[in-house]
């Protein structure tokens, strides 16, 4: 078909009949319509961030860069940025390590592993708000079952999400509970698509498990891990549901990441235009990071496929 070089010759587009030439547009059209329709809110958001739009006021007017300047000179913004980065990085790291580890453990095909493979997808299916609820009930100091278990080893009244020092840990535990399955699935997919011959050769040569992992498994799994990393990091940076359901950003401002700050300022306080710059910065951060990771992943994937 088009686009590829046939026998190392350039394709002369003029020689291809029009109805085939235009085919790509026809094919992409429905998808594009849907997607364009969604581009509009992005542009609107950028536009509104330069106004003082608020539902309270009957008319809005341009205020130039005021919202932006206010944001960059506020303590709130830098704190939110710090929380966003910390939560994003730690949650993703935890999920990647745990997920990859478990996937490797599931590599060996036994009856046990086959059952577990299916069961391990279940936490992903629970809505985050419900997951928070279950964990709140289990960790409650007064009525929680986990509390009773901890009591057995002499730990009483562990504050979980109620204390400044353990709130982020708690949120990350719940995030990891829901989302590690995603990483497991992706890494498992990678493991199962690995070619057998290099491993057989290595076994014959008497390579140790660690050596095999370091030089064979890990490099070949990288493309898959990158995808998992990409999706999880991007999601964790903008995590809203879990944190809002857990403490609404508290205690104090401990868990107020950019998404939450934007939501509370924009929806709860109805100060929409001043909340938009926060969210636009988040979007920019995510976009740039994603672009970088995607480039790396495509590069690695092409490398691994020998292109």
């Amino acid at each position: 078909m088009f686009g590829s070089k046939k026998n190392n010759e350039e394709i002369n587009y003029n020689e291809i009949p029009a109805h085939i030439r235009r085919r790509p547009y026809y094919i992409i059209a429905p998808g594009l319509v849907i997607l364009i329709g969604i581009m509009i809110p992005f542009i609107t958001a950028i536009f509104l961030s330069f106004t003082n739009y608020s539902f309270r006021l009957p008319k809005w007017s341009f205020v130039g860069l005021r919202n932006w300047i206010n944001m960059f000179t506020s303590k709130e913004f830098y704190h939110a940025l710090s929380v966003t980065l910390r939560y994003g990085i730690f949650a993703t790291a935890a999920e990647m390590l745990l997920g990859t580890g478990v996937a490797l453990l599931l590599k060996k095909d036994t009856k046990y592993s086959r059952i577990l493979k299916v069961l391990f997808t279940f936490p992903l299916m629970v809505a985050p708000a419900v997951a928070v609820l279950i964990w709140q009930l289990m960790t409650s100091n007064t009525v929680g079952v986990l509390e009773k278990v901890l009591n057995l080893i002499g730990v009483y009244n562990f504050p979980w999400a109620a204390s400044h020092s353990t709130a982020m840990f708690t949120a990350i535990v719940i995030d990891a509970w829901v989302n590690t399955s995603f990483v497991i699935l992706l890494v498992l997919a990678g493991i199962q698509s690995l070619p057998k011959s290099p491993f057989e050769a290595a076994a014959v040569d008497g390579a140790s498990a660690w050596f095999t992992f370091k030089t064979l498994t890990f490099p070949m799994l990288k493309p898959f891990m990158y995808i998992a990393l990409l999706f999880r990091l991007m999601a964790a940076l903008q995590e809203f549901g879990i944190i809002y359901a857990l403490t609404k950003g508290g205690p104090g401002d401990t868990l107020m990441n950019i998404s939450l700050t934007g939501y509370i300022n924009g929806f709860t306080y109805q100060k929409l235009a001043s909340a938009l710059p926060f969210l636009l910065v988040l979007w920019l951060l995510i976009n740039k990071t994603a672009k970088f990771l995607v480039k790396r992943q495509r590069h690695l994937a092409n490398q691994a496929a020998g292109k």
């Binding site: 590829s4 790509p24 429905p30 969604i38 478990v102 991007m234």
Partner: protein, 279 residues
Amino acid sequence: MNQHKQKGIMRILEPVGRNLGLTLFAMFALFPLIWMVICAFKSDAQMYNTVFRFTPTLENFRAVLIGSDYFRAFFQNLLVAGGAVIVTVIAGVPCAYALARYNFRKKEDVAFQILSFKFAPEIMVILPIFLIFQKIGIYDTYLGLIWVYQLITMPLLIWVVRGYFEDISVEVEQAAQLDGYTWYEVFFKTLIPLIKPGLVASALLAFIFAWNSFTFPLILSGSKIQTITITALRYIASDTVHYGQVAVASTIAVLPEVIVALFIQKHLVRGLSFGAVKG
């Protein structure tokens, strides 16, 4: 001699270690779910002072399934999430094909833009979308929600399926065409079966994301459409917190996803391999 012994020990320790690790993780991953199902059968009075020994009751089920409009929310959620996935598949697969096959400048950029929709902060887009939906009259409609859900369902599907298409060599299509099939027949008879694992796995993930979405339905649906994530939280409290009812609502809410997953479990893992690395 020592090496031999070492290998022998390793051979015994390895499965033990592996199964121990798996079991530990299984406890972490599965206990809360088991707990949720147990709570569904516990009465409010016994909810907190009993662990495993209690008198099971169906009162929570009655209150949720018969005493409230749970099923209405359930079917609405099914319509919206299912509809969103169907639209995604119909519009997304051709998109993925075009991105795989046709070369145009900025192709990677377009592909990336599509992917970036998944990462867009929901909070940022939700208000402009709300305003626009109100203006054009699709607020609180199935059409509106299904359209918005494309933000979360399309990107992953296009990416996974594109990977699969890229992996099918052009020669396969050309050979089929030489055999006299039209392009459309080639597409449906030859190509689709080859991308089935990827399509099916990413469709399931898309369904899960759509099914569990909270912020979009909260703001973009009024009274005509109530999705299940919000409905499940309703049982929390009006007079006191009814964890048992929440447990029932959540357990049943998980069922469609579980059923679909069980159906396609064969394809699930293989499907996400993107065909990235081959033999």
